[in-house]
C-alpha cells in the first residue's frame, strides 16, 4: 500500500529555476518575477500544470526563470501559441508574459484577438514604454516626444493605452499594477488567476537602462499617494494622503472629477463607488493620467464570461454525443458510393 505523504507546501523559491537571471541589475523585471513566484506559492499552484508562454523581448525571458513548463516563442506570437496550448489542454494554467513592443506592436493583432475570444489565460504585459532588448527604440506606448536612437528628435506618434485597448476589444478582466508595488502586485495577480477568461494585467515596469524613471511622476514615494488610486470593487474611489481626495462622476459631462473631501460640502457619500463590472467606469478610470488625475491601479474591470476553449470543447462534446459513434470507416463511406463488381 502506498502511503500518501501530505503534499509539501511550495515556497516562492520552489518556483525559481537554477538558471542565472540575466536582466540588467535594477531592472523592474526582477521584482515582477519575485511577485509572480510569490503569487504562485500563495495560490498553491501546481508547477506541473503551469505553463509560461512568452514572445520576444526582455520580459519574454521570463519562462526560463520559472520552475514550471515554459515556452519562449517568437516575437509577438505568444498569445497565439498560448491559445493553442489551451485548445489542446484546457486544464493547464497558462500565463503569457511580454512587453509593450511584443504585445502591442508586432503582436498587437494577437493580443486583440486573444482578449476578445476570452481564452482563459493570465496575460502579463510589462509596460516600460521602450524597446529594451533592441537597445532603446521608442515603443507603441512611448509618450510623444520620446527621444530614442530611432527618434532622435522625439517620437511623433500617439501612444496606445494598454488598458484602454484591452477594454475596447471586449476584455473580461483588466487590471493594473506596478513592479515596485510588492504587496499590490500579487493581489492583482491572484485575482487574474482566479478569473476564468483572458485576464489582462498591465504592469508598469521601469527600464533602468533605456527609460529610467519614466513612471516616477506617479510611482515615487513622494507622489505616490497623490498620483495613484488603488481601486477596489464596492469601495469609494478615494486616494491621496489620508484618503482625503476622491473621484466623483460629473453626470452632466459624463466624466470623472477629482474632489477633496470637506471642500464644497463633499463627503464620502458623494464619492463614486468602484463597480468592476461597469465597462464605462473602467474606461474612464483607464483614461486618467497625471497631473490632473491619479493613475488607476487594481482591478479596473472584471466580468465573468464563457471562455473560448470551454465553448470549443462544449461543441465537440455535443457533436460526440450526437454521433452514434465516431467511426472512420463510416466517415470514409459517407455520401454517394458505388460498388464495382
Amino acid at each position: 500500500m502506498n502511503v500518501q505523504s501530505p503534499p509539501e507546501k511550495l515556497t516562492a523559491r520552489d518556483f525559481a529555476t537554477d538558471q542565472e537571471v540575466r536582466w540588467c541589475p535594477g531592472c523592474g523585471d526582477y521584482a515582477i518575477l519575485k511577485g509572480v513566484q510569490n503569487t504562485l506559492a500563495q495560490l498553491e499552484a501546481d508547477p506541473k500544470n503551469t505553463v509560461f508562454v512568452s514572445g520576444i523581448g526582455c520580459a519574454a525571458r521570463f519562462p526560463y526563470y520559472m520552475e514550471t513548463y515554459g515556452f519562449h516563442t517568437i516575437h509577438g506570437r505568444s498569445p497565439a501559441v498560448a491559445s493553442g496550448v489551451k485548445l489542446a489542454n484546457p486544464e493547464l494554467d497558462v500565463w503569457v508574459v511580454g512587453g509593450d513592443g511584443d504585445m502591442l506592436s508586432i503582436g498587437g493583432n494577437h493580443t486583440m484577438h486573444v482578449i476578445r475570444r476570452n481564452v482563459d489565460l493570465q496575460i502579463l504585459l510589462f509596460n516600460n514604454q521602450i524597446y529594451g532588448l533592441t537597445k532603446g527604440q521608442y515603443s507603441p506606448t512611448s509618450k510623444i516626444g520620446t527621444k530614442s536612437p530611432s527618434t532622435p528628435l522625439g517620437s511623433i506618434d500617439n501612444p496606445v493605452s494598454a488598458a484602454q485597448f484591452a477594454l475596447g476589444v471586449g476584455g473580461t478582466f483588466i487590471a493594473r499594477s506596478s513592479d515596485i508595488l510588492q504587496k499590490h502586485l500579487p493581489e492583482v495577480l491572484k485575482r487574474a488567476y482566479k478569473h476564468k477568461g483572458a485576464s489582462f494585467v498591465e504592469i508598469f515596469q521601469n527600464c533602468i537602462v533605456y527609460n529610467d524613471g519614466v513612471f516616477k511622476h506617479f510611482t515615487e514615494k513622494s507622489v505616490q499617494d497623490e498620483m495613484q488610486i488603488h481601486v477596489e470593487h464596492g469601495e469609494p474611489l478615494l486616494f491621496g494622503t489620508d484618503k482625503s481626495k476622491g473621484l466623483i462622476l460629473n453626470k452632466d459631462e459624463m466624466r470623472l472629477e477629482v474632489v477633496t473631501l470637506g471642500e464644497n460640502g463633499i463627503t464620502v457619500d458623494d464619492i463614486a463607488v468602484h463597480d468592476e463590472t461597469n465597462r464605462g467606469l473602467a474606461t474612464m478610470l483607464a483614461q486618467m493620467d497625471p497631473p490632473d488625475y491619479p493613475v488607476a491601479l487594481g482591478v479596473l474591470y472584471a466580468e465573468p464570461a464563457p471562455t473560448y476553449e470551454a465553448s470549443v470543447h462544449a461543441q465537440i462534446a455535443q457533436a460526440t454525443k450526437d454521433a452514434d459513434k465516431a467511426d472512420l470507416n463510416s466517415l470514409l463511406r459517407r455520401g454517394q458510393t458505388w460498388t464495382v463488381e
Partner: protein, 622 residues
Amino acid sequence: MSEVATAERSDEGRQEVESAVVRFAGDSGDGMQLTGSHFTMTAAIAGNDLATFPDFPAEIRAPAGTTFGVSAFQINFGARKIMTSGDLLDVLVVMNPAALVTNLADVKPNGIVIADSGAFTARNLTKAGYEENPLENDSLEGYRLVKIDMSRLTVEAVKEFGLSNKEALRSKNMWALGVVYWMYGRKRQASIDWLETKFAKQPDIAKANIAALNAGHAFGETAEMPAELGTYEVESATIEPGLYRTITGGESVSLGLLAGSLLADLKIAFCSYPITPASALLHQLARMKEFGVVTFQAEDEIAAAAAAIGASYAGALGITSSSGPGIALKMEAIGLAIATELPLVVINSQRAGPSTGLPTKTEQSDLYQAVYGRNGDAPMPVISVSTPSDGYEVAIEAVRIATKYMTPVMVLTDGYITNASEPWLIPDAADAERFDVEFRTDPENFQPFMRDGETLARPWVKPGTPDLMHRIGGIERSYDSGHISYDPENHQKMTDVRAAKVLGIANDIPEQTIEVGEAGAKLAVVGWGSTYGPINRAVNNMRDEGLDVAQIHLRYIWPLPRNLGELLGTFDQILVPEMNTGQLRTLLRDQFLLPAEGHNKVNGKPFLIGELEDAIRARLEK
C-alpha cells in the same frame, strides 16, 4: 497522339467511344459546378473511370455575362484508365457568349459545341466582346455547332410551377445536363434523387429542376436534335472491384489527417486562416468534431501556425494549412517548430504566384519555399500529393514523420488537386499500420533535448506531466539540456544534428520506384505532385510509339529517396516537367550533379498530354 477516343458504331445506333471529354461552361450564376458534379456522379455509377477539373473565377459574383465571370467544369470519362481531365474537348456546352469565347480554343477540331442561343443576346455578345453573333456567321466552321434556345425551352418546361422568369432560368443547367445525359445514354435517376433530397423543403424548385432535366433529355430523344449531334456509348472501364466514391484532393487530405491522428492516437488541433484554395480543409475538418477534432480559425496565418505549435507543445497534433502567400507568413513560426523540435503538419495548397498571383489557378511553385524558405539552416521534410485521392496516404505519412521525428512536415498539394476529383477505392481504416505516439513520462535521466539514438528525435513531453517541467524556446538550445546556449560550438553541433535528423528520414521511406518503363532508358521523365496524370499518359503513349522513355514520380521531395541519385544516373537524359520555372530540376541538379532539363509552364492550367508528348519526342528524336 493524345487522348483521342477511337470510335465505332454500336448496335443501338450509338457510337461507341473509349473516352470522352465534356466541359460545361457558363456564367458564375449558371450552376456549372453543380452540373459537372452531377455528370461526374452519373459517370461513376455507370462504371466509367474519370477525372474532373473545375475551373471557376476568383470573383464570387462577377458581373453576369462577363468573360471573367465564366465558370467551367470539365470531366474526362472512359472505358479505360483515365489519367487526366483531358486535353481537348469532345463536347463544350456554353450557356452564354462569354463562355464560348473563353473556352472555344480547347475544343478539338470538329468537336461539338452546344450553345444556349437564347443567351446570345446583343447585350451578352457585347460583354463577351463579339461584334456579331458567332452562332449566326461562319466563325464556328470546323466545329459541330448545335444551337438550342435552352433559356426559352427551360422556361416552357417549368411553366406549370409558377416560378418567376428569373427563377425558372435557374433550372437551365439541368436542361443542358438532360441533353448531355441523352447524348451519352446516361440514367437520370441519381440526379433526380439528389434534387429531391436537396430541395425537399422547396418542392416546386425540386420539381422545376427535374422537369428541366427531363425536358432536355426528351428534347434529344424525340428527334428534335440536329443531325450534327451524335449519340455515344462509353462502356464501363475495367476497374478493380470494391466500394468506390469520388474524392477531391481537399477531401482526401482532410480524411488522411484524421486517419493519421487516429493511427498516432492523438487529437487534432487544426489551426488555419481562410485562403483560396486551401479553405476546403478547414471546412471539412470543422465537420469532424465527433472525432474530437479542434478547428481554430485564427486571426491570421501567423497565429494559425503559432496556435498549431502551441497545441503540439501541449500534446495534440498541431496542423496548419494555407496556400503560398499564407505559408510565407507562417515561415518564422515553422522555424520555431524546427528549433524546438515539435511535430507540426503544414498543408500547402499551392496556387499561382508570386504575391496574390492567380488565387484560383494551379501551380507547383512553392517547392523552393518548402525546402529552402526559412531563415537560418532550417531543414524540414517535404512530401507531395500526386492525385486527388493520393492525399489520404500522403497526409497519414506526414503525421507519421512529424510525430516520429519531432519535426514540422510540409505537404505540397495544389489548387488543381484540391478541387479535382476522381473515383477512389475506399480503404478499410483497420488495414493501416498504427504508429501510436509515446509521450515521455519517466523523469529518470530526463533532458528535453536528449535524442533517440536511431531517429535523433527528442522526447515529447506533455505539460501536466509530473517532474518533467522544462523550458524550450527559439534561442539556440544546449545539446541535451535545452537550456539557452550562445556557445558557437554548440550551435554547430545543433545545426548538424537537425540536418542529420531530417536526412535520416530517407532511411525510413520507400526507395524510389519507376512508375513506367525500366532503369537505363534513354529518357526518364521525372515529376512530382499533380503532374502525375499527364506525365503518365504521355509516357505510356510514347512507349506505345516505341520510344525508350520511363516515368519516375516523386512523393518525397525532402529528403529525397536514398536510391534516387543512383537510379537517375542510369538514364541518358532526364526531363523534369513542372508547373513552375524549374524548381525540382534545381534540386536534382544540386543534389546529384545531373544534367536534368526542364519542361516548364505557368499558365494556371495542368499540363496537356500532347505538350508532354512533344517534349518527350523533342528529346528522343533529335
